[in-house]
Symmetry: D3
Subunit: 131 residues, 6 copies
Amino acid sequence: MSDDKYEKGKMIAYSCLGKSGEERIAQLTKIAPAHGRAIFEYCYGTVWAQPHLDLKHKLFILIAVCASQGEYGAVERQVRGALNQGATQEEIIEAITTCAPYIGYPRTNGSLRVAQDVFDKWEERDDWKAI
Amino acid sequence: MSDDKYEKGKMIAYSCLGKSGEERIAQLTKIAPAHGRAIFEYCYGTVWAQPHLDLKHKLFILIAVCASQGEYGAVERQVRGALNQGATQEEIIEAITTCAPYIGYPRTNGSLRVAQDVFDKWEERDDWKAI
Amino acid sequence: MSDDKYEKGKMIAYSCLGKSGEERIAQLTKIAPAHGRAIFEYCYGTVWAQPHLDLKHKLFILIAVCASQGEYGAVERQVRGALNQGATQEEIIEAITTCAPYIGYPRTNGSLRVAQDVFDKWEERDDWKAI
Amino acid sequence: MSDDKYEKGKMIAYSCLGKSGEERIAQLTKIAPAHGRAIFEYCYGTVWAQPHLDLKHKLFILIAVCASQGEYGAVERQVRGALNQGATQEEIIEAITTCAPYIGYPRTNGSLRVAQDVFDKWEERDDWKAI
Amino acid sequence: MSDDKYEKGKMIAYSCLGKSGEERIAQLTKIAPAHGRAIFEYCYGTVWAQPHLDLKHKLFILIAVCASQGEYGAVERQVRGALNQGATQEEIIEAITTCAPYIGYPRTNGSLRVAQDVFDKWEERDDWKAI
Amino acid sequence: MSDDKYEKGKMIAYSCLGKSGEERIAQLTKIAPAHGRAIFEYCYGTVWAQPHLDLKHKLFILIAVCASQGEYGAVERQVRGALNQGATQEEIIEAITTCAPYIGYPRTNGSLRVAQDVFDKWEERDDWKAI
C-alpha cells in the first residue's frame, strides 16, 4: 500500500510542480533520503490525496499558509501549482489579499510580488508546467 | 461609499459569526473605536467582499492561516463561519489536515480539537448561527 | 560591574512590574537560577537600561513585539509596565492598533482584550503597582 | 512495510507519552483518521525512528522547537517524553534556557514553567509513564 | 470621508517612504488594486493617522514588529521612515536592541545589519527622502 | 566575574564559528556596542557555558530552533558550529528532519539545503574552522 501512495504522490506532485519540482525533490532526496521518500508517500500521496477538497482549493489554502510564514519560495511553488490546477490569476491574488488582515501587510505584499513574478514568467518556463 | 462598505461588512460578518460575533465586535469597538469600525468597513466590507472566491473557500483559507499562527480562538471562529457558509465537517477537517506538513503537528492537532469542539456544540449554540 | 547591573535591573523591573513581578521572577529563578539572574542583570539591567529611549516608549515597543508573537501573558505584563511608567490608556490602545496591519487581527484583537482587562483591574491590584 | 512502521511508531510513541498519549492520539484519530494513522506511521514510525540521534536527544530538540513556537501543550508532552527517556531535570531546564537568546524570554519563561509543572506532578501521574 | 483618508494616507506614506515608496505601492496597486487602495486609505490614512502617538514613535513600534517577524525588507522601510521622521541612528539601534531578549538574536542581528545598511546609503538615496 | 564570562564567551564562540564568526560579531559590535558585548558575555559566556549539555547537543537544539524560525543564515552558522564540535553530517541532517512534523516542510527543506551547502563548502572555507 505504501508503494501505491508513493507512486500516487509522485503523480500529484508532478501535476503541480512539473519538471522543476521533480529536480528539486530529487535534490532533497539525495540530502535526506527518508525525508525525500516522505515528501511523495506522506505529503503528496497521503495528505494531498485526501478526497474532500480538490487540488485547486488545497493550493489556495497552502498559498495562504506559506504566505503567513513568510516562506516566499514555498509561496512561489504553490502559486505555480495553482496555475497548473486551473486557477486564474484573479483567484490567486484574492487568495493572498484575503489573508491581509490576518497575516499583516509585509507578508501579504511580499507574497503578491512573488505571485506576479510567477505570472510574468509563466509562458517561458516549460519546466514549471504540469507533467 | 465607505458607509456602504461598513454596512456590507456587517452583513458578511453576521452571516459567518452570528449573534456571538456581533457581541464580540461590539466589545472590541468599545475598546478601540477606529479599529472596531475597520473590522466591518475594511476587513469584512472590503477584503472579504472581494468577488473571485466564495465565502466558504475564503473560510478554508482563513482556518488554515489561523491554524498556522496557533491562534485557536480565531480558528474556532473561522470554523463556525465555514459551517454557516455550508461547509461540511469533512471539508473543514481536510482543510486543517492539509496544513499538517506545512504548519506542523502541534498546531494541526490543536486546530483539529478546536474544530471538533465546535462540531460537538453546534446544535445547542444558537448564538453561533448566521443572522 | 555585573553586580551593579543586577541591582539596577531589579530597580527597573520592579518599577514596571511591582510585587507581582518580583514573585514571578523569584519563581523563575528557583526553576533556572542562571536564567533568573540574567533576567535582572542582562534583560533589565543591560538592555532596558540603555539611555536613548525612555521606559514608556520601550514598553510600547515591547507591547507590540509580544502582541506580534501572540504571547498574551507577556502583553499583559508590558501593559502593566506602561501604566506604571505613566502611559495613558489611549496611548496603549494606539500602540496595539498601530500593529493591526502588520501582525493581523487575531493577535491585535487578543491584545486589545488583554489591555482592557488590565485597565479594568488596575485600581484593585496593588501588587501590580511600581515598587 | 507501512504496517511495520505503524507498529514501530506506536511503540516509540507510548514509550514517550504513556497511557495519556495513547488516549490523546486515539481522540485525534477519531477526528481525523488518516492524520491519526500518520502520527504513528509517519511521525513516530518514520521520523522519530531514524537511527543517528537517540530519543533523549531528539526530545531536547523537540522541546526547543515547541518552545520556539509558544506551543506550551506540546512542550509539556515533549518534557514528559524526555523524562521517560531518562533525561534529568537539569538537562531539560538547560535545553530550554539554551534557547533563551534565540526564541526570546516570553516563550523561554513560559516553557520553564510548563517543565517545572511536569516535574511537580510526575510522581502522581501514572498515565504519563512509558508503556 | 473615505477619499479624505486616502489622500491623507498618501501624504503620510510619502512623508515616510519618499519616491521609492510611491513606486513600490504603485506596483502593488497594479497587482492588487483593492489592496493598493487599502494601503493608503486603511493602513496609512486610518491606522497611522491616529492621534495619540507621533509618527516617530509609531515607527519604532513597527521597526520592532517587523524585526520580530524576520521581515527584513519591511524593517528597512520602517527604518527609512524613522529617519524621515527625525529619529536618530542611536534611537533606531536602541529600538532594535530593546527587542533582543524578546525576539531572539538571529532577528535582532539581522535587523541591526539592515538598519546600518540604510544609514550607510542614506546620503546618496534621494528616492528615500520624504516628499 | 563579568569579564571572565566575556572571555569565556569569546572562546566558545570562536570554537564554533571560527574567523568568520569573529568578523561578524565585530561588525555587530560596531553597530551596537552593548549588544555586541552581550553576545560574548551573556549568550556564549553565560548561556552556552552552562554545564549539563555538551556543545554538540546544544548546537543540534539551536539548528532546530533557527530552522523553526526560518532564519536560514542562523541555521547555517549553527551547522558550522556543529561540525566544529564533532557532529557528523548524518547527525545534523537527522536533527533537521526530526523537526519536519513540527516546523513543516518549507522550513525543513530550506534548512536541509543550507546544511548541504555548508557540507559542500566545508573543506575550502578555512575561515569557518574553529579557532
